[in-house]
Amino acid sequence: MQIFGAYALLLAFVLALYGLAAGIMGLVTHRAQLQASALRASLMIFPAVAGATVSLLGLIFHNDFSVAYVAEHSNRALPFYYKFAVLWSGQEGSLLFWSLVLSGYSFVALLTSGRRHPQLRPLVAIILSSIQAFFLLLNNFVASPFTTLPVATPADGSGLNPLLQYSQMDIHPPILYLGYIGFSIPFAFALAALIRRMPGDRWIQVTRKWSMVAWGFLTVGIVLGGYWAYKVLGWGGYWAWDPVENAAFLPWLTGTAFLHSVMMQEKRGMLKIWNVGLIFGTFFLTIFGTFLTRSGVISSVHAFAQSSIGNYFVVFLLLVAAVCLFVFFRNRDALKGDNQLESTLSRESGFLFNNFVLLVTCFAILWGTVFPVLSEAIQGEKITVGRLFFDRINVPLFLFLMFLTGVGPLLAWRRTSANALRRNFLWPALVGVAVSGTLIGLGMRAPYPLVSFGLGGFVLTTIAMEFARGTRVVASHGRSLPSALVHLTLRNTRRYGGYIIHVGIILMAIGITGQAFNKDVEAPMPYGATMHIGPYTLVSQSYTQDDNPNYSTEAEIVQVQRGGRVVATMYPSRRFYKASNQAQSMVAIRSRPLQDLYLVYAGDDPNTHQPILHAYLNPLVMWIWIGTLVVVAGILVALLPGRKPDAGKPRAAPAEAAVAEEVEVAHPA
């Protein structure tokens, strides 16, 4: 099993090298047969890596502790559904998983692009094979998961980290990886198109689709990470501007910018250079983020996990940058724009501002994340910046983005006259002001939350009006309103899917704003003691203990009362994992649309031996998760193939006639 896995990995590496070398040779010498065999080698990488992965999983499931990776990350008593998580819980396994995902993506992308992109496909295969070769190099020679343990085989492994023994951890890493790695595909297409100097926008469609897939996975992956932190880490929050979180957020920001600015290229043939830059940058940031989180250069606390792997990433990053810059400067003349910006009040300028804000946000977060490294290099002192820096700079930027989300759809392409804009603005602005006004009336004074909730009302109204207006037009062709709404959405899935995504993002923003009103209390809670937080009264009822082969548990039983009535019983607890010798708090959460009650059993007071309870009241958190589901729904709609419009057709026909007429006038045949 072990030997087969190692062999399959080696074979995959050879295939990647062959795909790379033969592919380039085939293109240079114009030998079609060589190109075809290179393509097949690239396709074959996926089965080979899958074989290696299956054999590692086999070793994990057979508790083969003679393999170092299995001994270090698994144990016998680990439930089978967490054994999958062993695959990505360590450096070697997670790099193998990276190769698996990349080769899987490449397999699908190469198989599906043959008909529509015959000219690009050989190049795409070469680019993907070279990325793949880098990771397989690590898999084979730097961090092999199939190394035998140098000491005698232990009776049991040292166990999976308790923090990873959660159902979210079974899905968070794979989904985040699908997001991260997914950006390799649009990158490969964009680079190939630029090398080929492809005119036109056909490649931008495939790039955009793959970016949307990757972006969707990345969004869900990031949120799941926050969800996991919230449920597991027990500090009452979900986001801490930690370098690892930031590393995933950076490509999300540039990817978001790309998904918006690419519309300018498709609609108007503008911003071609910019778009290529964004997609290159996004790919670069995904690799850079991996480098940050794995090399140990960034956070002090991770620094002791330093390994030589960082050097390989540095070389790879430099190579990627060199290739991109070289191709870009050689062929940038192929990216000349067809049109220019006509007016400040236009959809185009809305997109420009959106891109500007997203990139500034990205830069600010990057700056804060690498600040310790920069300050050490320049001043010789390691200076870290904290949460306050990130919050202070990002909150206004996010609010501005929310504002643009609302304004964008109100602006017409090319030019909007001020009076049209005023008319479109009226209702949404009134709703926004009404929301903020009501909240002021209710006693809310904090400026940022007031702006945020107001903008939330404003944006949701603009989107509702977009749907309402469109539905009315479609319904005027004799459809019922619900059928018109569905038809409208299916007729332009990208636009209306995009609006649904915006609704989700706004819901998330509202949920995040709730953070401004978090409360918490900590106190010893012996039997019968009570604690008050917000509308709730907590009564300590009793205390239980439990034991199973994997861990033992102690729990406090807390009765929750509201308005004199018992509404729930909660069990904040602590687990002690036997294999890894680690304790872990199990948070108890009662989630309601308005607020979460979040209880942490913080252990015993060593002097009095009384259990200590830490209670948090976190408003609106649930809306972050709901918003994410809405975003997912929006992405699924946006990925549906757009139906050719029929409602607009009777109107478009005269337009075509008018164009034909104009051609006749300008260029008489």
Partner: protein, 88 residues
Amino acid sequence: MMLTVVACAVLTAAAGYWIFSARGESTTGSEREAQLQALEERKQAVYDNLKDLHFEHRAGKLNDADFERTRVMLEQEAAGVVAALRQL
């Protein structure tokens, strides 16, 4: 052990056969074809923009002046693309 060797050999042989049995088909299109295709797509994009414009106008998002001005611009752009197509 035997089984492992067989499995490795089978995997290698299958990969090798599949890769080297590939027969190439020419994929290179002519320059002119690519340009034609690009213009065709551009034309489609402008037509779609026109349809969108009509739709938004009917939905009441544009006033008549904005609509007329943008329509003329788009029709000129479309005419330019169509003319370029004819020249090819």
